[in-house]
């Protein structure tokens, strides 16, 4: 009681002092004050892939379609769409109300120019590989776009729901200003951007999606997440993105704060490198899978925040993890497998990026301790993110702790790693005829039930061959003051839900 009283008294005194000193800033009229620890890295929606860039650009641009909070595909710029019977053409009708923030209507020419830019190699769009089935694009009238495909491509529509397939004005493409001006048809307009410091957004009066209950968003970059929490606690920030589960778990302790957690599609994984001995041995890889206690890693490194997962993280396709190979830790079986492989313990190096994700180092340390039980001596190499990316892309590691991005469809999520012509084959160093053919079947199959069956086989086979050890999903967190309401989280991490928010006073 005493401490409580004196605390309040202190707080009152401090507030009074600070107010007289003029330190308290006047509350900004009707702007949502948002904070995150990592800033966007650029404004070109076709080229950017960083998590923060996508979150920012989703507020400014719109794709033809988007995912709702159930991950279903819903209209955005397109009002409706239809696949032809043979699956070789996809036709969109555009929303006649869709306008860019300068007032110009979004036309089929803008859509055509945007996808042609995306497919042009000189753009450097990493997402290009998801759209290679597009043979040509027709714009028969201003409100109709027809995509002609070289082969049936069921996941194409899902790929188009990404902000990486945003529609940008044809004239911005022509004058080369896409990377610098951020002129979109989304709910907000970017007024100013100071990289690694702040963004100012105001509501786009021309947005076709409806009214927004406040005037704009101010985003601050606060590199330290403990500082973000402090800023929320002090009521200086309304809404924040949190990456570190350790910080997220502190949010509910604060009476004025609310934590929104939603299981993400990204997965924490221990990637083995099957091109290096002894990970080239199936039994060794399986032994590692059996020796790992996934729940224990989740409980320790992620303080229980997340779910044990197999390769498929999207609810529509995911299997029950307990049905997958060796998802219960089984040290005896692991030892037997090692003996069978004729490997009597070995040393290996595992790479991990500093702070990306924040739990990487902790995961590596628990894995190190678990694998020591079957005689595997792991050495941890922590490195700066960029250095890590360089080595990861070159496949230059024995093992790697990673948080790899998820998709709402299994094919674009894994074709890059595990099909024979995948762009990231160098990273996985692993191919298997059956895995390859299952992925190809899943790509062209349009019947939902059949696709599910195919991908379940794929998932079971992949965990049994254990090129990687899938561990868990992480939660995606946002924290907010209780005074604001209406935000809906999504497993994709999008902040589009901010359009429905109201600021209470």
């Amino acid at each position: 009681m005493y401490t409580k009283l004196s605390r309040t008294a202190f707080a009152g005194l401090a507030a009074a002092l600070l107010a007289t000193a003029g330190l308290a800033l006047p509350a900004q009229a009707a702007n949502l004050r948002m904070a995150w620890s990592q800033d966007a890295t650029g404004l070109d929606p076709h080229a950017q892939t960083a998590f923060s860039s996508l979150r920012l650009l989703e507020l400014i641009y719109e794709p033809l379609v988007r995912n709702d909070t159930n991950l279903d595909v819903v209209p955005a710029i397109a009002e409706s769409w239809e696949f032809s019977e043979d699956g070789l053409t996809l036709t969109f009708k555009l929303d006649p109300d869709a306008k860019f923030s300068d007032g110009a209507t979004v036309t089929s020419e803008d859509v055509k120019a945007s996808f042609e830019r995306l497919l042009d190699e000189a753009t450097g769009a990493a997402a290009r590989s998801n759209f290679l089935s597009i043979a040509s694009i027709d714009a028969p009238d201003p409100a109709t776009v027809v995509f002609n495909l070289s082969q049936p491509d069921a996941p194409l529509l899902v790929a188009m729901a990404s902000i990486n397939a945003a529609v940008v004005p044809a004239k911005a493409i022509a004058d080369g200003s896409v990377a610098t001006t951020a002129l979109g048809s989304g709910p907000f307009v970017l007024d100013s951007w100071e990289p690694n410091s702040r963004e100012e957004l105001s509501v786009n009066a021309n947005w076709a999606g409806g009214d927004i209950a406040y005037d704009g968003i101010t985003i601050s970059v606060l590199p330290d997440e403990t500082a973000i929490l402090a800023s929320l606690r002090a009521g200086q920030t309304d809404f924040a993105l949190i990456n570190d589960p350790l910080v997220a778990t502190l949010v509910p302790n604060e009476p004025n704060l609310q934590l929104n957690a939603v299981p993400g599609l990204a997965y924490n994984v221990l990637q083995l490198n099957p091109s290096r001995s002894p990970m080239d041995n199936l039994q060794v890889r399986q032994a590692i899978s059996c020796a790992v206690d996934r729940q224990d890693i989740l409980d320790t490194a992620l303080v229980g925040e997340g779910k044990v997962t197999g390769p498929l993280t999207m609810p529509a396709y995911a299997s029950d993890p307990s049905t997958l190979f060796c998802y219960e830790q089984d040290i005896e079986k692991a030892k037997a497998l090692m003996a069978e492989a004729g490997v009597d313990g070995f040393s290996a190096k595992v790479i991990a990026a500093t702070g990306e994700p924040p739990v990487a180092s902790a995961e590596a340390q628990v894995l190190q301790s678990q694998l020591a039980e079957i005689g595997i001596n792991l050495e941890i190499e922590l490195m700066e993110l960029n250095v890590y990316v360089d080595r990861w892309l070159a496949g230059d590691f024995d093992m790697a702790v990673a948080l790899n991005g998820g998709r709402t469809d299994p094919y674009p999520m894994y074709n890059r790693y595990f099909t024979k012509d995948g762009n990231l084959l160098k990273v996985s160093n692993f191919t298997d005829d059956e895995i390859d053919s299952l992925l190809q079947q899943g790509r062209v199959e349009t019947d939902i039930a059949k696709r599910k069956e195919i991908f379940q086989q794929f998932e079971a086979r992949l965990t049994e061959l254990a090129p990687w050890i899938w561990l868990s999903t992480s939660n995606i967190y946002t924290a907010q003051l209780k005074t604001i309401s209406g935000f809906e989280s999504s497993a994709t991490g999008t902040l589009f839900g901010l359009t429905k928010v109201t600021l209470g006073q």
């Binding site: 502190l250 320790t300 702070g355």
Partner: protein, 279 residues
Amino acid sequence: MRILRAIAAHPTGRIGAGIILLYLLLALCGTIGFTPHNPLQQFRIDRLQGPSATYLMGTDLFGRDTASRLMVGIGQSFLIAFASVGLASLVGTIIGLLAGWWGGWLDGAFMRSMDVLLAFPAILLALLIIAIVGPGTFTSVVAIAAVYTPIFARVVRGPTLSLKRREFVDAARTFGSSERYILTRHLLLNLVAPLTVQVTLALAWALLTEAGLSFLGLGTQPPAPSLGLMMSEARNLMQQAPWLLVFPGLTIMLGILGFNLFGDALRDILDPRTQRRTA
């Protein structure tokens, strides 16, 4: 012997020496494995426990014993501090001696390169070196040494220049001693005092720099404990587990304090100017 006795008589020097000896003892125990628990063993059911009879300073996120990790961490931090200051003083002394003794273009070239290192922002210099080579104990040693080498070069060059002109060197020359003999015997003897003082103070800075680098995730690699790394791991646990921040924090402060006190005492004793004052 005379110096040791003087330190034992010096009020703050005694405290500093005491702290350093205590830390060395703890580090030694940590190195030979004489710790309450295995510092790397994860008692995962006991994670984030506060200080208790079993875990004197509580446990961390993995259920590792903080006290044991601190003992080993002191050793690790000391190892890096001693090695980097050793390297910096060795390279710095050689450069300073050569520059001061030969003078001319060699002096210019050496001292300008030292100026380049000095003008380069220290933490960024260390950061670049670590980013290029990749973090680890050895890299930390090199990175910290690179920051402090110019200081040693300057400390040595000044006295070398003036000693070179002084009579006893000339005298030794006329007696036919070889240059090498002059260098090693006379010069080094006269450099011992300023160097010793500089080394002790640099040890304190090196401990601070190592803590800072580890705090940024660029120093010692997990799971090996170092004081700065333990603090950076504890940072987001500040509220649930304050002991994880408090004990390493105090340990760093006390350790650096020890070297600062010791260094000050040494300066009092060895620096002729202060000697004149206290006499």
